[in-house]
């Protein structure tokens, strides 16, 4: 390091000056009071923002206006969703892996796994099409009509775990080209009517997917896992595989796709999670 550089990085003495002790006392009093007010505000703000379930643990019962609280906390989700949307590019491919890097994939059905009986009569119904018609396709139609692609990608769950798996299926984009959505459509509502809740009762699973993501070259309607037709655990006979989204968007056993101009409802967004879920 030369002398000039050392001079620039060298520590400077702290600026010193003389003040009347009265001034120091007053400034100290003023700032400590401000500091105390800030600490009280932080405590109140924290109490306002923490879930009531958490506050109840420490015996605090705050009847805060939960509408304002939800609004404020949802703003953080909205900002994060906007960031995720800005990061997305249809030209950016997610990383692909080799077969030796494949890791086990668990059945993460949120409720009970459906009885496989639905598979024999399964049909995919498309609505919101440019033709104005409703189209029903069975798995044989789909596999005959569209070319099947292989893809080894990572599926990331909102819980934090992830799995690298070998998927095969048709591109969502190919389906969109074959059955064009109505011109105003910006969204797809992807749903499964065979989904069950934890006690085994029907629990419709519906999810909003922006068409930009649906058109991503790596967004598949998967029919196979590890070269074998999907098992009921993994959403036989057709599931969504959008690796640029969290796992919870990757609907298993899809029965309906409906194109819409307005953002459709979303199962997990209604349970406090974000809407866009782009990763």
């Amino acid at each position: 390091m030369n002398n000039k550089a050392r001079g620039f990085f060298a520590e400077r003495p702290l600026p010193e000056f003389e003040v009347d002790p009265q001034v120091l006392r007053r400034r100290t009093r003023r700032d400590v009071l401000l500091f105390g007010a800030g600490a009280a505000a932080a405590l109140a703000g924290g109490g306002f923002l923490l879930p009531q379930a958490t506050l109840s643990r420490v015996g605090v019962r705050l009847d805060t206006n939960s509408r304002a609280k939800e609004w404020f906390l949802n703003q953080a989700l909205r900002i994060d969703d906007d960031v995720a949307e800005a990061l997305y590019s249809e030209n950016r491919m997610v990383a692909t892996y080799t077969k030796s890097q494949i890791t086990p994939l668990k059945n993460n059905y949120n409720g009970a796994t459906p009885d496989p009986g639905y598979i024999s009569g399964w049909k995919l119904t498309l609505d919101g099409l440019a033709s104005g018609l409703s189209v029903s396709l069975d798995i044989r139609n789909l596999l005959a009509r569209f070319s099947v692609r292989d893809q080894i990608t990572r599926l990331v769950c909102v819980e934090g775990w992830s799995a690298i798996a070998w998927w095969s299926g048709l591109r969502f984009d190919d389906l969109i080209r074959a059955y064009p959505p109505m011109s105003q459509a910006k969204w797809a509502r992807v749903e499964s009517s065979v989904n069950l809740d934890a006690s085994g009762n029907p629990d419709h699973y519906f999810m909003s997917l922006d068409l930009a993501t649906a058109r991503h070259p790596q967004t598949l309607l998967a029919t196979h896992l590890s070269g074998q037709p999907l098992t009921v655990d993994h959403g036989a006979p057709l599931r969504l595989l959008a690796p640029v989204k969290l796992g919870l968007k990757n609907v298993k056993a899809i029965t309906n796709i409906t194109y819409a101009a307005e953002e459709p409802r979303d199962y997990w967004a209604e349970r406090g999670y974000s809407r866009y879920d782009g990763i």
């Binding site: 702290l14 010193e16 120091l24 932080a42 950016r92 934090g160």
Partner: protein, 278 residues
């Protein structure tokens, strides 16, 4: 954490000279540094509490499920052990959830925890920018840079701190090692590493939050799963910093604490301002 080698007695005697009724003070911390310092307290608390709740939904440290309980989470094992061996700490009905009941916003609250975590994470990044702005505006960044002599001086300071409680007990005088910089070597190492830890936490956070778009960032830390491990341990670096930080500020006294509130320190040597480098 005195910055002066002069005993306090001398400072007092000088400031009470009749022709000098004023106190000599030094501007120690810039306003933005002070603001961001205190804002870090609620923000980091929110990040840690919500972070451990997020950890609950998919623990990094797992073992084969226990045949009797089905438990696989090491933090749950710790909770079970605490409830079995530490009397008076059994506040909730579920021992496996002890860690989550006491150190997070609670188990089974992933959606609420994520929302709080993103809110605090964006606040943390903004606050970090404010801190850096304050360091630049006040010139404080120079005082944080590591020096060549730091290793030796840090050892001297460490020896002083370790021997301090014994010296207090035996009422033996123990001279504080001398230095003429704003911080001693040990403080400098700590105050330099904490912003670095903040940057690494933010980087690993983005790597696991957007692992597809920031794939190459995750790759720097060894991939998605490794970045989660980094992120978890970086949290502990903050915790390990905060504990001695708070203890030492209390040990050092009012002037140091007030310095971070008012920005002024009255613990200044009356003699000429010391030259910069050793």
């Amino acid at each position: 954490m005195s910055c002066s080698t002069t005993p306090r007695k001398e400072a007092i005697s000088t400031s009470t000279l009749p022709e000098r009724p004023e106190v000599l003070v030094a501007r120690r911390h810039h306003l933005l540094v002070r603001w961001s310092h205190w804002l870090n307290v609620p923000i980091l608390l929110g990040l840690i509490l919500s972070g451990i709740s997020i950890y609950w939904s998919s623990p990094i440290y797992q073992h084969k499920p226990d045949p009797n309980t089905g438990n696989f989470d090491v933090l749950a094992d710790i909770g079970i052990w605490i409830c079995a061996h530490a009397p008076g700490l059994h506040h909730y009905s579920s021992p496996p959830d002890w860690v989550y009941n006491h150190l997070s916003i609670g188990p089974g609250m992933l959606a609420a925890a994520l929302r709080l975590h993103w809110l605090c994470a964006y606040a943390f990044m903004l606050n970090g920018a404010v801190y850096v702005a304050g360091l630049i505006a006040g010139g404080g960044w120079r005082g944080l840079l590591p020096r060549r002599t730091d290793l030796r001086d840090a050892f001297r300071m460490f020896r002083y701190y370790v021997g301090f409680p014994l010296a207090k007990l035996t009422r033996r005088q123990r001279p504080h090692p001398g230095f003429n910089t704003k911080y001693n070597a040990l403080q400098r190492a700590a105050y330099f590493s904490v912003p670095l830890t903040g940057c690494l936490s933010v980087a690993t956070g983005w790597a696991i939050h957007k692992p597809m778009q920031f794939h190459s960032l995750a790759a720097i830390f060894g991939g998605f799963d490794a970045a989660r491990v980094w992120h978890f341990w970086l949290m502990w670096v903050f915790v390990l910093f905060v504990v001695p930080h708070v203890i030492l500020v209390f040990a050092d006294g009012w002037d140091t604490f007030r310095g971070m509130i008012t920005g002024w320190s009255a613990r200044v040597k009356r003699s000429a301002v010391t030259a910069n480098e050793q």
